[in-house]
Each structure stands twice: as structure tokens, then as C-alpha cells.
Symmetry: C2
Subunit: 141 residues, 2 copies
């Protein structure tokens, strides 16, 4: 179990991977979710649709990369889940010490000024999990 | 877009389908998420892991049914996303009037005293979406 040094405080976003440029408009229209952030990365475009304070992240494959490979292998679908944590550095330190397989041993910059890290899918039974610190100004550095 | 009659207010839960009885303990241990509810249904067991006020729902296939067919076809993986809405009846009425394909034309009982309805995946670009009213006492009936 997580120690007293950190805890998951909620779901920050859920990511849906696709390759169809019409998807963001369809989802935004059906569910009434406004797009509040768009970031272009190598091989994909990331859009954040607001669901209250939570986010549905749309990952559109635009070239070779992890998103395109996911869509080619599995079709469009849910890609990962991102949990808010109250102390990302403590979480990564403890997970590392416990031998938990991590993609990111240290936090790196995420979208919208967040700090993030991915666990390796084998850490969570095949589920790709991202940890997010969305109040990095408050966190120990 | 959604009208003024209803809106999505957040992510209620994200569901992960699997067939391995060891998954709940692994996920709970790695992420420090306590299991706060277990319900047995025909063909699957549903467990709710608490992530603050949000939930990671684990759907364990135990026999023939939608969860087992999902796992057989795609392997373990994220199954659907459930959004909180502030007026589920208004949402279903408006989506119906707009011709949005629905699995549930009317709200039905969900776990933990909620009222729920699923949209057809074709409504959201292949993403299976559940709408949840988790304060049914406050909602218009």
C-alpha cells in the first residue's frame, strides 16, 4: 500500500487514442465538453476536453509514434488513466524503492504546467497509469 | 452541444476489464487504492477502488457475458468511462431527441445507489460512455 508520504487524490484525466480528425468535434458535441487546451507533439495532437474539473484527453495520431502504434494495434480506444497525487516525488521514490516498474523514474513536464510520470503497464496488471501533480507550485521539489 | 438543461460535472469512474483474480490486489497495493464496494453480477464481479472521491472500477469476468467477451477479444484493458451529470433524465431526453444512439433510453439502477445509462459506442467515436447520477435524491424524477 501507499505510505503516508503520498496518496492518490482523484482521477485527473482519461486518455482516448484515435486517428480520425472528426473525433474531437463529435465527442465535444455529444457530451457538451469544451476543448480547453490543445498541444501539438511529435506524432500526435493532444486535446483536453473539460468535464468539470476533470479532463477527457484526446490523443490524435498524426504520424509515427506511440499513439499511432496503439491505434494500429488495437483501434481507437482508451489509452491510459492519469491519477492526481499529492506528492509526486514521494510517490516515485517509494515506488522505485519497492521495485515497481516505472517508465519515468523522475517527474517530467506535462501539459498545462503539470508534472507527470508514467508507471510501466506491468506495474498495474497491464493498465497504463500516469501520475499527475497539477499543483506543482505547492509540491516539494 | 449540451443544452442548459444538463451538463457533465466530472468523471465518476473509469472501468478496467480483466479476468485475473489477482488484479484487484495488485492495483490496490501499487496505487494505494482501497476497495470500497464489491458487487457480484451475472458473469462478472464489480469492485470499486477509491481514488479520492473518484473511482477505478474493476470488472472481473467470472463467466459468459459482456466483460468476458471484451477480455477475450481485446485482452484486459480500459472498458468504459463514466461521467457524472447533474440531470440524467434531461440528458437522456435531449440525447434521444437529437437522435444520439443510446443503449439505455431510460435511467436504470447502478451500483452504490446511483442511477445510470450507457450511450451506444457509436455516439462517441467508439468510446463506451456511461452517464451517472450519483445524487439521485437531489435529481428530478
Amino acid at each position: 500500500m501507499a505510505s503516508a508520504a503520498w496518496r492518490v487524490t482523484g482521477i485527473h484525466h482519461v486518455a482516448f487514442a484515435h486517428a480520425d480528425p472528426g473525433v474531437p468535434e463529435q465527442l465535444a458535441a455529444t457530451l457538451g465538453l469544451p476543448c480547453v487546451d490543445t498541444e501539438v507533439a511529435p506524432g500526435f495532437v493532444e486535446r483536453m476536453l473539460a468535464a468539470g474539473d476533470d479532463r477527457l484527453q484526446l490523443l490524435e495520431a498524426t504520424g509515427d509514434g506511440v499513439v499511432q502504434r496503439f491505434v494500429e494495434r488495437r483501434g481507437s480506444g482508451l489509452h491510459h488513466i492519469a491519477f492526481r497525487v499529492d506528492n509526486l516525488d514521494a510517490a516515485l521514490s517509494e515506488l522505485h524503492d519497492r521495485g515497481t516498474p516505472l517508465v519515468d523514474e523522475r517527474a517530467r513536464a506535462g501539459g498545462g504546467g503539470t508534472r507527470i510520470a508514467f508507471l510501466h503497464p506491468s506495474a498495474c496488471a497491464g493498465l497504463l497509469v500516469e501520475l499527475v501533480d497539477d499543483a506543482p507550485g505547492d509540491a516539494p521539489r
